[in-house]
């Protein structure tokens, strides 16, 4: 079982775009170590050779064969104005989402 350090927690947090305080890092290091240690028991179980990973799909074999993609045909979607109504800082007149500066200082 891998042991977890504070720098591991910071690395994972960066992947998830979470900024953690020092107190959060300290607390999560202990909590995640306990949870992952508990979860590591899955690694001790043998998996039969004939097992297919698709068998884990909850709707495998269901009537109507769900999970297939529909034909890619254009059809109406939500009205742009209704969607932009919810968007923080949207430029509704121009019909855009907006974000702060991406490049440069």
């Amino acid at each position: 079982m891998p042991t977890l350090s504070g720098s591991d927690v910071r690395r994972i947090a960066a992947l998830a775009r979470l900024e953690l305080t020092d107190a959060e890092v300290e607390r999560l290091t202990g909590e995640l170590a306990a949870i992952l240690d508990y979860a590591a028991q899955v690694q001790r179980v043998d998996v039969p050779a004939d097992l297919r990973i698709e068998e884990s799909t909850p709707f495998e074999g269901a009537p109507g064969a769900p999970g297939r993609l529909r034909d890619d045909e254009p059809m109406p979607s939500l009205p742009r104005a209704a969607v932009l109504d919810d968007a923080p800082g949207a430029n509704t007149a121009a019909g855009f989402f907006t974000v702060p500066r991406v490049l440069g200082s």
Partner: protein, 489 residues
């Protein structure tokens, strides 16, 4: 705690009774709606089951139903509460999170459209653990919900507001979502019926995603007949959710509810170590009642079920970390002010609560390079083995009985500092989500503490109706479904 509000002696009406009273002219949608709103105003301050109540919208809808009653309206004038992760055009949909506190979805979830078409009145939105992550409703950003049976106790979770609202008689029906037991466990802890349908029975379109391969919208009711009624309305294929099945809607309204002759009930006794005494006593009473109705009890083994909780927390949190990546402040919800886009992401996501951050971290870890094989893929393989165990067991039995929860309602605050212990609340409920199977929880009396206990029956895929039939047969033989909590309408 303040003193308990006054309670009435007459039992609240069921959905079937409300529909009949309105259809016959003995009542009206408006009258039922006013009484419901009054009951919520009187009782909910003691429970905090609701986050939003749509007084004006509900009354306007009731008046419209009274003016122009639709011809085929199985839920005519029936007030329904919705967990606040089910999108409603007319009402906020916060998912119990600061990130969506101001969110007004531009569309209704498919279940909401179907409820409307059936004549139901959406009365309000109920409290929940943030993004449905929790087993107690204490992880709501807007404060906990209190259990109507004892207000120092949690109602369970994550759909605790919906469970408490139905238990207290504020509404006859409510919808929640069940990812690892989030409807069945609060149903048990609040003494009501909760049924998670087979995966793919009910559209997830408009349900705010937690773990997409596990989530299923699921109803609460006080009677199995009401649960059957609402399931028939909301189940069935939906073009907006590719995982819905073409199987016809769940029809459990009619049938023989006098006997369980020929029904084989499997009991996995090897899983029952460590349950509370109160739960064991009531579970044994439920088994005796099933046997008394003619069912045959058979020992079964679910070999990999003891691994269901770790498998669930690996698979579920992997999916959660992926689903919650969308909360970046760009398209909807909360946005933190920042000069640069990267800072906006971090500052916006700082608004997640502690439990949500914890789960995103676990999910990101198990999907990260170097750990994906050992954790995520291994958990998926075990998920497949858990499905195989059920397939083998269901060659010998028709349903499998366990307690719904290993304990009765625990005290508010008791497990907040021990996430792993909180996760173990889900030991009996997560296997059905992992296997995609239908499972119902219904009341089987109270323990010595006076708190309700639920029994869970799990069935074969698409045999949802059999679970409702068994529950209704027990309902006709016992008075368990009629027990009411001290805090009630």
């Amino acid at each position: 705690m303040t003193t308990d509000p006054p309670t009435s002696a007459t039992p609240p009406l069921t959905a079937c009774e409300i529909r009949a009273a309105i259809a016959s002219g003995r009542s009206s949608a408006t009258q039922v709606c006013r009484e419901t709103l009054d009951a919520i105003a009187r009782v909910d301050p003691a429970l905090h089951a609701f986050l939003h109540v749509d007084r004006e919208g509900a009354l306007a809808r009731a008046a419209e139903l009274d003016r122009n009653p639709p011809s085929d309206a199985p839920l005519l004038g029936v007030p329904v509460a919705l967990k606040d992760n089910i999108c409603t055009k007319a009402l906020p949909t916060s998912a119990g999170s600061r990130l969506l506190e101001q969110y007004r979805p531009p569309y209704d979830a498919t279940v909401v459209s179907r409820l409307h078409a059936a004549g139901a009145i959406v009365i309000g939105k109920t409290n929940m653990d943030e993004f449905a992550m929790g087993s107690s409703t204490e992880h709501s950003a807007f404060g906990p919900t209190f259990n109507p049976w004892a207000r120092d106790r949690v109602p369970g979770g994550s759909s605790g507001g919906s469970a408490a609202a139905v238990s207290a008689g504020l509404v006859p029906l409510a919808l929640g979502s069940d990812t690892g037991g989030s409807v069945r466990q609060p149903a048990a802890l609040c003494g009501v019926v909760g049924i998670k349908p087979t995966y793919g029975r009910v559209s997830r379109y408009g349900l705010i995603a937690f773990a997409s391969s596990l989530d299923q919208i699921s109803p609460f009711a006080r009677t199995s007949e009401d649960a059957a009624l609402v399931l028939r309305v909301i189940s069935g294929q939906d073009a907006c959710d590719a995982t819905t099945s073409s199987a016809p809607p769940i029809d459990a309204g009619a049938g023989d509810f006098s006997t369980l002759d020929g029904i084989r009930v499997g009991v996995p006794r090897h899983l029952l170590d460590g349950i509370e005494d109160d739960v064991r006593v009531r579970f044994d009473a439920a088994l005796a009642e099933l046997a008394g109705a003619g069912a045959r009890l058979v020992d079964v083994e679910l070999r990999h079920a003891p691994l269901a909780v770790p498998v669930y927390y690996l698979v579920g949190n992997a999916e959660a970390s992926s689903n919650l990546a969308r909360y970046d402040g760009v398209r909807y919800g909360f946005r933190a002010n920042a000069d640069r886009v990267a800072d906006m992401y971090y500052d916006t996501r700082a608004a997640f609560g502690a439990e949500v951050k914890r789960r995103i971290m676990i999910g990101t870890y198990v999907l990260s390079a170097g750990y994906w094989d050992a954790f995520y893929l291994k958990a998926q393989a075990l998920r497949a083995l858990i499905r195989r165990d059920y397939a083998a067991a269901f060659s010998a039995v028709d349903v499998i009985a366990t307690p719904t929860s290993p304990t009765t309602a625990f005290r508010i605050g008791e497990r907040l500092d021990d996430p792993l212990r909180m996760y173990l609340s889900d030991v009996f409920t997560v296997p059905a989500n992992l296997a995609g199977l239908p499972a119902i929880s219904f009341p089987c009396g109270e323990g010595t503490s006076g708190l309700p206990v639920g029994v869970q029956l799990t069935g074969r895929a698409f045999e949802d109706a059999l679970l409702l039939r068994v529950a209704r047969t027990i309902e006709t033989r016992s008075d368990w479904f009629t027990h009411r909590p001290p805090v009630r309408a």
